[in-house]
Symmetry: C2
Subunit: 131 residues, 2 copies
Amino acid sequence: MTLHTDLTRNQSLVLGALERAEGPISAYAILDELRTDGLRAPLQVYRALDKLLDMGLAHRLETLNAFILCAHPHEHTSEIIAFAICETCRQVWEFSDDTVRERLIAWTQAQDFRPSRTTMEIKGQCRKCAA
Amino acid sequence: MTLHTDLTRNQSLVLGALERAEGPISAYAILDELRTDGLRAPLQVYRALDKLLDMGLAHRLETLNAFILCAHPHEHTSEIIAFAICETCRQVWEFSDDTVRERLIAWTQAQDFRPSRTTMEIKGQCRKCAA
DNA sequence: ATATAAATGTTATAGCATTACATGGCGAAC
DNA sequence: GTTCGCCATGTAATGCTATAACATTTATAT
């Protein structure tokens, strides 16, 4: 459990729930976790999540409609992150690849497309679960 | 409008709606379009969409919760497709890049991860809308 | 102190997707 | 040609995900 002095109460609560989850967790599951702490409405969770995403402390997994703690919170270099998501054990691997980033940027530049956010998610089975 | 003799009635109707849409469209929007043809329940649309996705005739855009006609229905080579989605005009570009595919496959092989489906979506602004 | 921005609380609602169960059509095997 | 099994369909109900709208409180800066 890290210290996050710059976070508000709700943001800290949500971050704590993400840390305890140790994997992807939905906004509503976070809410259920935090009802004992006084949270009552989905919006309280979604608002905190929005900030955590902005700060790079959490990620949204589009194919799961779920959220996960950022594995490398201090590497803001790439901004293009890929996730491998095991459909069996739900474990998630976060990684980035410079070549992939270059190729995608090359495509967008060739098209004069200005990217704002990129989603890359590979679903499948991890080594353990495929064995 | 292409002929799709191997499709069932509902599948043909949904494919037609996708063709007319000329862009991403939600399952519920498809349903609204097809009420005049007798469709009444979301499940009728979702079941047809599932088949069209299997056949490679349509794609699901995870970041939009929407569906779109496949732009290259006969190129089943890559299976790793990227989408650029303009957040202003909602137009979608579908493309694939062999190098990106190779790098992602390299990562999964190094991790003994067996991919089943890969999602790549770049949101941003297209040339026209960014100007 | 006061203005301003940011965060919070609350209710209601909108939008997306699936479960469960019953029915119908159609081809293969016998 | 009937029976079996498979696939598609129809329908109702429900569950999950996310946001709109509005009122209030708290933090920050000057």
